[in-house]
């Protein structure tokens, strides 16, 4: 390219000038946008840190009193309070991701490889519509419809698999439990995974797919050989995005779950766990200043955990993509 410029006369036209100016301006704007995001993230972190500081570094006795007040005596120290909350958050999110992940990949593969074009278009539209439903509506539906309706299903599973601790009975009736919340959250995060995975699977290299088929692979084998390895890193980052939504989900959990403060994995029993976000929403109206600081500190813990989960996801995708 440099040869071309040295060979040509060195008279720059006005269009080239404006072209260069536009290029510089756009580069600056793009950089500013990137910096803006970093600045926002930093601002959130600083806000959380500053407002949470009285709860983390303040008078220990006052903090213990406030936490005992918030929990009715269930916890005395900050980590005694946030530990079960964190466990509950991770448990609920993990369950919902487990439900949603395989179903979403199935839907995405169906849309990209199995469905006729019309059906694929309609299905994509419906999945996008699911993503637009507000969390409150999901919470209402879960709380009013799903909770009484799903009891027979849980009772059946507990009858057969009750010897495994996570399925231990007695099944709570109405089922305002982690299992039910997991289902509702799974429905909420499924559109995210599905739409991103579908786009990724549609971009899988056609040549490799046809080569696999030409070599005698069945459709499933072709997908396993050519599509899934290609899309795996993208699917994992889609799942991490969905997991981020599940970790922070407030209204659905608040309206469905019967809260408790323990490290329990009994999915079918009520009053075992609570999530950080739902706890903040539930306790905030009645909390005094130090109580609000404690709640913001739990929010800070959630923020850090989400960060950590995303970092782990990035390292996985780097390994898989490499």
């Amino acid at each position: 390219m440099s040869e071309a410029t040295t060979a040509a006369p060195t008279m720059t036209t006005s269009s080239e000038h404006s072209g260069k100016a536009a290029d510089t301006i756009f580069r600056i704007i793009a950089k500013l946008c990137g910096l803006l995001i970093l600045a926002t993230l930093a601002a959130v972190f600083i806000f959380l840190g500053l407002r949470a500081w009285p709860a983390l570094g303040g008078n220990k006795q006052e903090i213990a009193d406030v936490i005992a007040n918030l929990t009715g005596g269930g916890a005395q120290t900050f980590w005694g309070y946030v530990g079960p909350l964190l466990f509950g958050t991770v448990l609920v999110s993990a369950i919902s991701l487990l439900f949603a992940f395989f179903v979403s990949i199935g839907i995405a593969l169906f849309i990209s490889h199995y469905a006729p074009k019309r059906l694929a278009a309609i299905l994509s539209y419906i999945i996008d519509l699911l993503a637009a439903i507000p969390s409150v509506v999901y919470g209402l539906w879960g709380g009013l419809v799903l909770v009484p309706a799903i009891v027979p299903v849980w009772k059946q599973i507990s009858a057969v698999f009750g010897w495994i601790p996570i399925f231990a009975g007695p099944v709570a009736d109405p089922s305002r439990t982690v299992a039910t919340v997991g289902i509702v959250l799974a429905v909420m995060i499924m559109p995210i995974i599905t739409s991103l995975s579908r786009d990724i699977f549609l971009q899988a290299p056609k040549l490799q797919q046809e080569a696999a088929l030409a070599l005698g692979a069945t459709k499933w084998e072709m997908i396993r050989l050519a599509v899934l390895p290609f899309g795996m890193s993208g699917v994992i980052s889609a799942s991490m995005l969905a997991l981020g939504r599940a970790l922070g989900e407030t209204m659905a959990v608040l309206m469905i779950l019967s809260p408790g403060l323990s490290y329990s994995i009994k999915l079918f029993q009520a009053s075992q766990n609570q999530t950080i976000a739902a706890n903040i929403a539930a306790q905030y109206p009645e909390a005094n200043d130090l109580g609000v600081a404690v709640l913001i500190a739990t929010g800070l813990v959630l923020f850090v955990i989400t960060f950590a989960v995303n970092a782990i996801a990035r390292s996985i995708t780097r390994k898989v993509g490499a």
């Binding site: 009715g72 005596g73 009736d173 019967s258 809260p259 009053s271 539930a282 109206p285 005094n288």
Partner: protein
Amino acid sequence: MRVFRLLNLKHNQHAGFFMQMMNKHSKYSVPANTVANTLNAVHTANIVNTADTASPVNTANPANTAKVTSATNTPKVVNTPSKTVSNASSNVPRVKRFIAALCIIGVLPALSACGDNFPTAQDLRSQAQGAGLTQQDLAPHTDLSGEFSGAGASSQQAVMESWIAGFQASNTDIAIGYDPSGSGAGVNTFLMGASAWAGSDAVLSDEQLAQSSSVCAVGQAFDVPVMISPIAVIVNLPGVVGQDQHIVMDANTLANVFNGTITRWNDRRLQALNPQFNLPDLPVTVVHRSDKSGTTLNFVSYLKDAAAGQWQYDLSENWPNNVGQGAKGTSGVVATVQQAAGTIGYADYSQIGKLATVALSVNSSQPPVAVSVEGATKALEDSHIDQKRSQNNRVIVQVNHTTDKPGAYPIVLVSYAIACTQYSNASTTQFMRVWLDYITSERGQALASRNAGTAPLPHNLRERVAQSVQAIEAPAAPASSAVPDLPDSPNNQSASKL
């Protein structure tokens, strides 16, 4: 969106079809060659046809014209039918823009009126009538004016709404607001001086009392009971339906159910108290409040007083154990109990709907007492005022949970109003005197009872409360303190003496 793109595609392919349809119905004949002409013609025909009665073309075309012309919605205006087709394509956009601008300008004044919500005197009186208030419910008229607000317990929301309607109907220059943000939040707001009074299910603690001297002009704040509400113990059991069927329990059994000792409905202790039912073999699911609540505090204080052996937990607004499920708010508890058989919970009596309740067996010599408003009043008649905390006009009720007065229902929620004897602002002082006078008066309590299902303050308690309220300085007597008339209405004419 893909659906619309599909439609678009369809339109271009079927433009000819629409042209034919259009030719049949419109006054204009359109050239058959270009799509653009077709679209313009259809569009103009649309405008013309809105001036006439609705035509089939309109129903067939709207989606296509809306999408294809990509202009703002065609306003409903009688455009000049004399516009020719050839001019339509250049003039229509400008005309539409002008009309759109006119519409926006025309709508702005209408929108700006949205902010100002102050009702007129006539509005207030008709609102009061619409709410079923009669002449006897209204407060006396005063010459005060201004805006005053209170905040606090959500349990007082319904009664506050009735009282505000009754007060504002005869005092149209006063605007009163009540924010049901919760007892704790309301007391905080009051202690910061941001509200004239606080509604609270719990009385002021000692620190809050000390803090109140910074917000009251003279001395400290005081609490008076303004609302009494029975707390019903609700059950959902097959075979126990309707308002006349009750599960009978005594205090010890109730405590055993709520502390997790009794786990099945056909437990012999429950069956012994209920020979009239064949109790099913269902697990007992306790439903309690997951949030801090005055209802919880009053309920567990009943259990602690009446069944001290079975209830060892400390008193608190948080539910003390992990038995059963927690639900948020009174409505959450009621909804959860309704959702499954075998549930039992506690909630404010006025909000339980059609759920069956527990009748308390207070005493073996008396029949079990079902929850009722009169029963709550009787229990309060038999209760004492806390003498240790009665200085400075405070009236703190110690509900007699072990009352054996016949017909008394001992599980009650007493809710207080917290106010100062004197405020730094004279009009606030005068307002609070008149306001508290009204809400604790016989007519105010009767209104609340009728509208919100609460129990009226019993006579002896009301007198004691009146003494405290009268410590607040009254406004100078106005020329006429009669209750103004409501406009003539069927309500007014059939008003009965309260």
